[in-house]
C-alpha cells in the first residue's frame, strides 16, 4: 500500500459569517491548494463535506458547485460526504484510502457549514434529525440532551456526585476557552471562569450553556497526496500513520452511554495501523461538542482509564503547558474554536498539521511529533480517527 501525506491545510475564521457555504469553502479550498504549491487543475477528486445545506440555504447537491467555485477540471469528480459532525474527517479518511490504494494521487477534502446562519431553534431541530427518526427524535431528544444523559449515567456509574462532576466539566470549558483565546480564527477568543459556566442557562440537565459548543459558520480543507509527490511539493509533508472509522446504531442499541464503543473500535484500528499507543500521542484534537464529550473521548482514546478522565482538566493535565502527556484541543476545540459541523474534521486536521509543523504560534505544543484527530458524528454512532506524524 502507498503512503499518504497531507500537504496544504486551511480554515476560514469560525463564527458568524455573511458568506455563503460555497464562498466559505472556496476560501479554504483555494488556500489549501496554494499552500500545497499546486493549482486547481492538479486536483484529481473533491471529497466535499456538508451536512445541512438544504436547511441552511435550500441547497442540495452542493459538491459540483463547490467544484466549479474553485475552478476544478470537469474530469475531477466531486462527491458530497455526510456523517453528521464527523463528515469532514470521514471525507479525509476516504481520500487517504484512495491515495493509499493508488486510485488518485492528489485529492482535496474538507467541508463547509453555516450552522449559525440557521438560528438556534432551527439548528437544534436539524441537528436532532441525526437521531433515530422513528424511535428517538419524537421524544424531543437534542444533542446536548444525549451528552447530558451520558453525564448523569457517568455520575451514577462511577459514584461521582453530580455537583462535583459539573465543576470538573466546567474546567474543561475553561481550559478550551483558554486555548481558544490564543487562536485568532476561533469563534470564542475570550477566557471564561468556572463560576461563569456554573451560572449559565441550563440547556439539558446537567449541561449549561457554556458546557456546549456553539453553532458556527466556517469551512476548512486539506490536500492529501501520495507521500513521494508530497515530498516533492512541500517542505514538511505530514504523514498519515493510521486511520480508523466505526459505526454504531441508535442509543437504545448502544445502551451504556459512558462508553462510546464506536470510538474504541475506530481508534484501535488507527493505533494498530500506526504501531502506536495512547502514550505516544503528543497532541490531540478531539470531539468536545460538550464538556462531557471531552471526558468520554479522553477515556475512549486510552489517555485515561474509564471513570478517571473527569478531572483531567481540573488537574491541568490536558492544558497547553500542562503536566500531562497529551495536550487536548489546543485550537480551543469545538467548544471555543467553534463547530461548523461539515467543516469540523478538516479544521481539526488543520490544527494537528500546524502543530506537527511547529507553526501553531502561541498555541504550539512543544516538541509535538505525533497527533491524533478524533471526530464523533451523531448520537455516538460514527467515530473517525486519524493519527498524523511529522518526519519519521
Amino acid at each position: 500500500m502507498r503512503e499518504a501525506a497531507i500537504l496544504g491545510v486551511a480554515m476560514t475564521p469560525f463564527g458568524i459569517s455573511d458568506k455563503t457555504n460555497l464562498e466559505l469553502f472556496a476560501d479554504a479550498g483555494l488556500e489549501a491548494i496554494v499552500h500545497s504549491n499546486l493549482a486547481p487543475g492538479d486536483i484529481q477528486a473533491l471529497f466535499f463535506g456538508n451536512c445541512l445545506g438544504d436547511f441552511e440555504e435550500g441547497q442540495l447537491h452542493m459538491a459540483p458547485f463547490a467544484h466549479s467555485s474553485i475552478g476544478l477540471p470537469m474530469s475531477t469528480p466531486a462527491v458530497r460526504f455526510e456523517c453528521a459532525c464527523a463528515t469532514a474527517t470521514v471525507a479525509i479518511r476516504q481520500a487517504v484510502q484512495m491515495v493509499q490504494g493508488g486510485i488518485y494521487d492528489v485529492i482535496l477534502a474538507g467541508g463547509t457549514e453555516r450552522a449559525a446562519a440557521m438560528g438556534t431553534p432551527l439548528a437544534t431541530r436539524t441537528f436532532a434529525m441525526a437521531s433515530q427518526a422513528q424511535y428517538e427524535t419524537p421524544t424531543g431528544i437534542t444533542f446536548p440532551g444525549v451528552f447530558a444523559m451520558a453525564a448523569h449515567l457517568y455520575s451514577h456509574r462511577y459514584g461521582i456526585p453530580l455537583v462535583e462532576l459539573k465543576r470538573h466539566l466546567a474546567e474543561v470549558a475553561v481550559k478550551n476557552h483558554f486555548h481558544g483565546s490564543k487562536n485568532p480564527k476561533a469563534h470564542f477568543q475570550k477566557e471564561i471562569t468556572v463560576e461563569k459556566v456554573l451560572n449559565g442557562m441550563m440547556v439539558a440537565d446537567p449541561l449549561q450553556l457554556l458546557d456546549c459548543c456553539p453553532f458556527s459558520d466556517g469551512a476548512a480543507a486539506v490536500v492529501i497526496a501520495e507521500a513521494g509527490k508530497a515530498r516533492d511539493l512541500v517542505k514538511k509533508p505530514i504523514y498519515v500513520a493510521g486511520t480508523g472509522q466505526a459505526s454504531a446504531g441508535p442509543l437504545y442499541i448502544q445502551q451504556d452511554l459512558t462508553h462510546v464503543k464506536a470510538r474504541e473500535v475506530s481508534v484501535k484500528m488507527a493505533y494498530d495501523e500506526a504501531h502506536l499507543t495512547p502514550g505516544d500521542i503528543d497532541v490531540c484534537e478531539l470531539h468536545d461538542c460538550f464538556t462531557m464529550a471531552e471526558v468520554l473521548a479522553i477515556e475512549g482514546l486510552g489517555f485515561y482509564d474509564f471513570g478517571r478522565g473527569y478531572d483531567a482538566a481540573s488537574r491541568g493535565e490536558t492544558r497547553l503547558g500542562g503536566k500531562g502527556t497529551v495536550v487536548v484541543n489546543p485550537s480551543g476545540g469545538l467548544k471555543a474554536k467553534g463547530h461548523p459541523i461539515g467543516a469540523t474534521g478538516a479544521a481539526q486536521v488543520t490544527e494537528i498539521v500546524e502543530q506537527l509543523r511547529g507553526e501553531a504560534g502561541e498555541r504550539q505544543v512543544d516538541g509535538a511529533k505525533i497527533g491524533l484527530v478524533d471526530t464523533l458524528g451523531g448520537d455516538l454512532s460514527t467515530v473517525c480517527n486519524l493519527i498524523l506524524r511529522g518526519e519519521k
Partner: protein
C-alpha cells in the same frame, strides 16, 4: 407466528397498548423497537412476541432548549425494559423541575402517546412514555 415486525405493526401495537418485540431463537435476546436482525447476535431467526410494559430508568435529562415546535421543559429517559432491551421515551408524571439523580433506577411502566410528526417526517408517531411507579 410472524417473524417480521414492521414499524407500522409496532406503531399499531402501541396505539392499542401492546408493546411488541422480537425474541431471538439463536441467542434468546429481545429486540425492540423492531429491526430485521437481533440487536445482540445479528440472527434473522426472530419471533414476534408481546413484551412486558415495565422497566427501570437508566439515565435521563431535562430538555430546556428544544427543537422548534417542541414545548420544553420535558424529561427524556433511557429505560432498560423487563426484556433487557433499552428504549427512549418521556417521563410524563413528574414536574421536570423536580427531576434529579434519584430518577436513575426508578421503576416505570410503559405507554405511548401520539406525537405530531415534523413536516419532514412521514406522519405522526406513537412515542414511548414512562410513568414512575
Amino acid at each position: 407466528m410472524s417473524t417480521e415486525l414492521t414499524f407500522k405493526q409496532y406503531q399499531d401495537g402501541l396505539a392499542n397498548d401492546v408493546f411488541w418485540g422480537l425474541l431471538c431463537d439463536d441467542c434468546g435476546s429481545y429486540t425492540t423497537p423492531p429491526q430485521k436482525v437481533c440487536r445482540s447476535c445479528g440472527s434473522t431467526a426472530l419471533q414476534v412476541v408481546e413484551l412486558e410494559k415495565s422497566g427501570f430508568i437508566r439515565t435521563f435529562t431535562v430538555i430546556r432548549v428544544a427543537a422548534e415546535g417542541m414545548n420544553p421543559p420535558f424529561v427524556v429517559a433511557l429505560v432498560e425494559t423487563a426484556s433487557g432491551a433499552w428504549v427512549m421515551g418521556n417521563v410524563i408524571n413528574i414536574d421536570p423541575n423536580e427531576a434529579g439523580m434519584e430518577l436513575i433506577g426508578r421503576k416505570v411502566t410503559l405507554s405511548s402517546r401520539p406525537v405530531k410528526g415534523d413536516i419532514y417526517a412521514c406522519g405522526d408517531i406513537h412515542s414511548l412514555c414512562f410513568t414512575l411507579l
